[in-house]
């Protein structure tokens, strides 16, 4: 089915929201700068409502069904978060208001910094990064500056496991690190021998995702960190998978020096069709002074009658400001709400149920699908979406066939070290009935692959569109609808 674009729906002279008349004496528009044409659509308000409602119905979402998209932690987004973020006292504050008029915001940020540091076992936090990838950039910049301040200008090599997210090497490249790939051993851990052979006084650090993207907790994590530290490097933690170990383990206590959270994964803020994310970074003592400018601190201690006065302060050796204003504050309110409703006990429950759900599914599927790293998993696991006896069927076909059964496909073709990867993360908010249904469908698809492979090859059959031609999109680039009434060359 096709929904016309807003430009196709436009009808000259039609109006939706109108503005009041000018209530002050009018002055002429600035000479020489007057705009000649603005070809925005002209649609009634109901027309706009229906358009965006119909479009929404073409989307699959957590609120409509099971969404086991590995590495993305598609858990339930509690509705209360939406209510608290919209409290006028939060939603209608300007980022440049005097600090004494935003003590509520600063209180919330100060305490969220503390909570996130405590959950991860670190000394301090910044809430400024706009997303996980920007958190990585903050971490990489801090690591570089830390070494430079110690005179270690030669420390430019960043070790990155071959199972890592693409953002890790992309971030390292942005700050001018040399990317050194680190192999994974047959059990899915960092290859210790390779690690030992790669560290020397040129080592800046290691970017480690733990649990890693195979959904496995590195069995040698202490040894890995020790090797890096002994060589003078720092260990960056990609916290994409923190959901698995909330309240169960603290990376900072294990020895990580810096770690980013993905608030939209671990702490239930909405994924929003691709963002906004939020990527607070927590650090060990030795990196505290390098945090982005500014952080929130207590400016004046409180007493029996007065609460403390909160304000922004600049860390002594800061890497500087990483974005405008104070981070994705609206998302921080949601995360604060979520953590408040969980407490230590609830956080542990989240991790335990996320890991229980993943292991339950892994157990049900591993006979029918190849499980390349056959161990107890954390919050997710990776299967091969490929069988020797039906070589024409690929992970993509399995993924598309799942759509016909009303489920969102797992992440496919990542991590790169697994052939035809299907990365499955059920999350803790799914019930046993949903997991059973998914397992049943996955087994059915494995059977169909042998009996009616065309059902998979041509899937999806029951979706708003059939498979889309991605090559054509890249070849005959159309990135804009041509607004009506506007000449195009």
């Amino acid at each position: 089915m096709t929904e016309p674009t807003i430009f196709e729906m436009s009808s000259p002279g039609r109006r939706a929201v109108k503005m009041p008349a000018v209530d002050v004496p009018e002055v002429p528009l600035p000479k020489g700068f007057e705009r000649q044409n603005l070809a925005f659509p002209e649609i009634s308000e109901l027309g706009v409502v229906r358009h965006f409602t119909r479009l929404s119905q073409l989307n699959y979402s957590i609120d409509t069904g099971f969404y086991p998209l590995g590495s993305c932690t598609m858990k339930y987004n509690p509705k209360i978060n939406e209510a608290t973020a919209r409290i006028p006292g939060f939603g209608h504050t300007h980022p440049l208001q005097p600090e004494d008029t935003v003590q509520g915001n600063l209180y919330l940020m100060y305490h969220l910094q503390k909570m996130l540091a405590e959950i991860g076992g670190f000394a301090g936090a910044t809430l400024q990064p706009a997303a996980g990838a920007q958190g990585e950039l903050v971490g990489a910049l801090m690591i570089k500056k830390y070494h430079q301040d110690r005179g270690d200008f030669q420390r430019l090599r960043m070790l990155i496991p071959d199972s890592a997210h693409g953002t890790n090497p992309a971030t390292s490249a942005m700050v001018g690190f040399e990317i050194v790939p680190l192999p994974t051993d047959p059990r899915g851990n960092v290859d210790l021998e390779a690690l030992k052979s790669l560290v020397d006084d040129r080592l800046a650090g290691l970017m480690l995702t733990n649990p890693n993207t195979l959904g496995l907790f590195d069995e040698n994590v202490e040894e890995v960190i020790k090797i890096v530290h002994q060589a003078g490097g720092l260990v960056y933690g990609d916290g994409a998978n923190m959901n698995a170990i909330l309240g169960v383990a603290q990376p900072g206590k294990i020895g990580f020096d810096v770690l980013h959270y993905n608030i939209h994964k671990t702490f239930s803020t909405p994924h929003g069709g691709g963002g906004p994310g939020s990527g607070p970074v927590v650090v060990a003592e030795r990196l505290l002074d390098y945090l982005p400018d500014p952080v929130v601190d207590i400016i004046e201690e409180g007493d029996e009658e007065n609460p403390p006065l909160y304000g922004f302060v600049t860390p002594a050796k800061t890497i500087g400001r990483i974005k405008s204003f104070h981070g994705h504050f609206g998302l921080l309110v949601r995360a604060y709400t979520y953590i408040s409703m969980l407490g230590a006990e609830g956080l542990r429950d989240i991790a335990e149920k996320a890991v229980l759900n993943a292991n339950y599914l892994q157990e049900k599927l591993k006979g029918t699908y190849t499980l390349p790293y056959d161990r107890s998993c954390m919050h997710e696991f990776v299967l091969e979406g490929f069988w020797e006896d039906v070589p024409e069927i690929h992970a993509l076909d399995i993924a598309k066939r799942l759509i016909d059964y009303g489920m969102h496909p797992p992440t496919n073709y990542f991590p790169l070290i697994v052939k035809e990867a299907l990365m499955i993360e059920p999350t803790e908010t799914e019930s046993i009935e949903t997991l059973d249904r998914f397992a049943e469908v996955m087994l059915k698809i494995a059977e169909e692959a042998r009996t009616q492979p065309e059902l998979l090859k041509n899937a999806p059959h029951h979706a708003p569109i059939k498979r889309a031609d991605e090559l054509k999109a890249a070849k005959d680039l159309v990135l804009c609808c041509y607004p009506m009434g506007l000449e195009q060359d």
Partner: protein
Amino acid sequence: MFTPHTQKDVEVMLKSIGIEKIEDLFTEIPEKFRYPKLNLAPRLTEIEAAMELESIASANGSTKDLLSFLGAGAYDHYIPAIIDNILQRGEWYTSYTPYQPEISQGTLQAIFEFQSLICQLTGMDVCNASHYDGATAAAEAMILADSHFRGKRNKFLVSRAVNPQYRAVMRTYFQTHDDVHILGDEPETGIETDLQKLIDQIDNDTALVLVQYPDFFGRIVDYKPLIDAAHAHGTLVAVATNPTALGILTPPGELGADIVIGEGQPLGIPLSFGGPYLGYFAVTNDLLRKIAGRLVGETQDVDGNLAYVLTLTAREQHIRRGKATSNICSNQGLMTLAATIYMTVLGKEGFKEVSNLCYQKAHFAAEQVGQVEGFTLAFPETPFFHEFVVKSEKPVADVLEWLRDHDILGGYDLGQDYPELKDHLMIAVTEKISREDIEYLAAVLKEEYHD
């Protein structure tokens, strides 16, 4: 909380896995690190959390209670009711990146429409699915220019009249690049609108010039001479733009800009203490393949039906890893949707009306405040949009405090960023400000002066 497992479910699942207790799933974590005692407050129920957050928020004074003339990069515009209503549909906010186009056509088409609207607004050919905010979009413009010249041009010029936070973020992003020099915003180059001192610095080693339109002080400056001078050296020009202003002003694309970026917050996004907002990023066709972030393109499905997909993904980190155009991995999804609905529901006429209201009211405010003894317009001869600067005879801090006592957020103290503009106050006016509000501001200022 939020986990549906009954005791019986857990038992069935443990048995199926073949273990006795959940703790057995975590034995790979070294024992000494397992189950730390976290120092967090006891958990709250929903009603308790709602009350707690209400109570925290009550310590703020919001723009609902205070009459606000604060701008400087974030603006208090009216947000039509339809926007948040649509945004709160779960199909929008609980979906993720549209990697499976068959079940993401809603998100994909909305981004495609966003790209189209921004191209129309800015007069550019191509726009991506957004960056984090205006400041990071400015940094990404530098990354693009650096890559365009393959690192062979090392000079990046940025006008001193560009938002100081944008300039700070650009420097943060490039602090580890010893060969990159960000220049042009020194006090000596100044903030004159003839731009001659900035133009004089453009040479064949200059990769990019970044200016702001209207500039940080709200002034409307003719950038044509600067753009022509830059192009004569093969230098790219990026223009940071306030989208609201483009309802009435000539779009930068028509002036010859190569890159147009900006803060999208004025497009229907709440102030929310600074975020989440969105950074828009539009370029000419020549720069298309260097653009970072997500792009949505039109195509067909196997039955020949119109369809939308993410395209040119080979530029991005999940494919190119260390050689990607940027490490960006998200876009401001929900915020771009808000902006798309905003531009659509205001439409051709409504958008111009907002722009004109801001312009007219700001001019009335400038006239009123300029008449108050002790205040003079700092740039009386320069056209401006909806923000203007006044010089105060008294310290700005005192003026702002006096206004605060009358429940007015009086504006932005420029002295904190510009030593040369000590005692200068910047006042922003949007369509939400009434004539009476402006007269009240002037009256309170007058009263202060005579106090």
